[in-house]
C-alpha cells in the first residue's frame, strides 16, 4: 500500500499574538528583545504584535503570549498587569524587575513620602513653589515596589537585567514550539 502524499494545509497556521508592556521598567528588556536583530523578520512570520510600546494599539486584546517588563511601582502598573493577565494565555515575567522588583526595589527600605518630598520639594535647584505633583491624572506610587508574581499568576520567568537577545530568542522559540523554555549555561543569568 502506498502512503498518500500529505495534503497541503488549507491555510498557514494562525500567527501567535504577542503583547508586551513595560511597567516599572527601563525599556532595557524591550531593547534586548530588539537585539535579536534580523531574526525579528523570522519572528514576524510566526507572531503578530498586539499592544506593545512598538505598536499603536492602546488596549491589550486576547493574546497567546504577554511579556511583562518591570515591577509594580504605582497603581496604574497594577491595573495594566491585571489587564494583561486577563487577556494573555501565557504571561511571562521578563527581566529582574518583573521577577524580583529589581533595582527599583532598593527604594523599599525608604519612606515613599520622604522620597517624594526629597525629589519634588527640598532638592537643590527647585523653585520655591515646587510641590509633590497631586493631579488625579497621575497614578499614585505604591509604598513598596513589588515583583509581578505577587499580584498575578506568572507562567514563566525570563531572568536577566536584561535577558540577552539569545535568551529571548531561545525562550520564544521554545514557547512557540510548545516546549517548556529551557535556558542553559550562559543564557541563564540574573545580572
Amino acid at each position: 500500500m502506498t502512503t498518500p502524499a500529505p495534503l497541503p494545509p488549507l491555510q498557514a497556521p494562525r500567527k501567535l499574538k504577542l503583547a508586551t508592556v513595560s511597567l516599572a521598567g527601563c525599556f532595557g528588556c524591550h531593547m534586548s528583545f530588539l537585539d535579536i536583530d534580523e531574526r525579528l523578520f523570522e519572528l514576524i512570520e510566526h507572531i503578530e504584535f498586539d499592544r506593545s510600546p512598538l505598536t499603536d494599539i492602546k488596549q491589550v486584546g486576547v493574546c497567546d503570549i504577554g511579556l511583562i517588563e518591570g515591577g509594580l511601582c504605582n497603581a496604574e502598573n497594577v491595573l495594566v498587569l491585571r489587564e494583561f493577565r486577563a487577556h494573555c494565555k501565557t504571561l511571562v515575567a521578563v527581566g529582574a524587575c518583573a521577577i524580583t522588583g529589581g533595582l527599583p526595589a532598593q527604594r523599599n527600605h525608604m519612606d515613599i513620602g520622604a522620597i517624594l518630598t526629597d525629589v519634588y520639594c527640598t532638592r537643590q535647584g527647585l523653585s520655591a513653589s515646587c510641590r509633590i505633583p497631586d493631579d488625579p491624572e497621575l497614578p499614585l506610587p505604591l509604598n513598596q515596589v513589588h515583583p509581578i508574581h505577587e499580584v498575578v499568576h506568572v507562567d514563566y520567568f525570563l531572568p536577566g537585567c536584561p535577558p540577552s537577545a539569545n535568551a529571548f530568542w531561545t525562550f520564544l522559540n521554545d514557547l512557540m514550539a510548545g516546549r517548556t523554555p529551557h535556558l542553559g549555561h550562559g543564557l541563564m543569568h540574573y545580572d
Binding site: T100, Q106, N108, H185, M188
Partner: protein, 242 residues
C-alpha cells in the same frame, strides 16, 4: 562493611563508584573525585557547618547532609536526582527572597556561589514573596564593606576569623528569621573591630556581603568565575573571592 585489604573503600554516587579515605565525608570524597554535590556553607578548608541543606543527598534511601555524613563502604548515595534538585531549587528560592539579592548591581555577580548554584538548579524565578529586609550597610571600615542584606548565614566568615585569623571578628546572633551576622566590637561596627583586608575572613564570603572597597566590577563580564564554566564543572574546591 569492611573493604578487602589492599582495595580502596568505595561508595556509589549516582551509580558510579567513588573512592574515599577513612574519616572523609561524602562531599569531601566526591569533590576529590571531581564530582559535584551542590553546597553553599561547606568549604574544603573548614569544618562542616550544615546550615544551607543544599548538599542533602539520599544515603541508602534516607536523606542526609553530604557535608556532615561520613563516607562508608558500600553506601548507595543519590544526589543528582529530579527530586533532590527540586528541593535544592526551593531552598535557593527561600534564600533569595529572604535577602535583597539584586544581582544587577552586586559586585559579586558572576563570582557568587549562591547565584551560580541557582543557575545550576535552573532557578528562573523566586517563587515566594520577597522579604525585602532592611539591614543597614556597614561602611565604617577603611578597606571593607558589609552588606548584610545578602548574608546567607553560612558562618564561613565566623569560622575563618576564629580558626584561621584567630580574631573572632564575626558571630551569628538572634533567633528565627531575625538571626543575623554580628561584628564583635563594642560599637558593633566593623571599623572598630580588629579586621584587616588581608584576613582570610575578608575573602571567604561566598556571596556579596564582605566586599573590598574601591575594587568592585574589576573582572570583565565573560571572564568572571562562573561565566567561564558552570559551578558543577568547578569541583576543584571553592576558591576565595577574586
Amino acid at each position: 562493611m569492611r573493604a578487602a585489604p589492599g582495595s580502596p573503600a568505595t561508595f556509589s554516587l549516582d551509580g558510579q563508584d567513588v573512592e574515599f579515605q577513612a574519616g572523609e565525608t561524602l562531599i569531601e570524597a566526591a569533590t576529590r573525585a571531581g564530582r559535584y554535590i551542590p553546597h553553599l556553607c561547606w568549604h574544603p578548608d573548614f569544618h562542616p557547618h550544615g546550615s544551607c541543606r543544599l548538599c542533602t543527598v539520599k544515603v541508602n534511601g534516607r536523606a542526609g547532609a553530604a557535608c556532615t555524613m561520613q563516607a562508608a563502604a558500600g553506601q548507595e548515595v543519590q544526589s543528582d536526582t529530579a527530586e533532590l534538585n527540586a528541593q535544592r531549587k526551593t531552598l535557593l528560592q527561600m534564600l533569595f527572597v529572604e535577602g535583597n539579592h539584586f544581582c544587577p548591581s552586586c559586585e559579586k555577580s558572576g563570582n557568587c556561589l549562591l547565584q551560580a548554584t541557582a543557575y545550576q538548579m535552573g532557578m528562573e524565578g523566586p517563587h515566594f514573596e520577597q522579604f525585602y529586609p532592611n539591614r543597614p550597610v556597614d561602611a565604617s571600615h577603611p578597606d571593607l564593606l558589609l552588606d548584610f542584606n545578602r548574608c546567607i548565614l553560612c558562618e564561613l566568615c565566623v569560622r575563618a576569623s576564629r580558626d584561621v585569623d584567630g580574631k573572632s571578628v564575626f558571630a551569628i546572633g538572634g533567633h528565627g528569621i531575625h538571626t543575623h551576622l554580628l561584628v564583635n566590637s563594642d560599637s558593633g561596627r566593623l571599623g572598630d573591630a580588629d579586621m584587616a583586608l588581608g584576613d582570610r575572613a575578608a575573602s571567604i564570603c561566598p556571596v556579596g556581603v564582605i566586599l573590598p572597597k574601591r575594587r568592585g566590577f574589576a573582572i570583565p563580564i565573560g571572564q568572571r568565575r562562573f561565566d567561564q564554566a558552570p559551578v558543577s564543572q568547578q569541583t576543584q574546591g571553592d576558591g576565595d573571592s577574586p
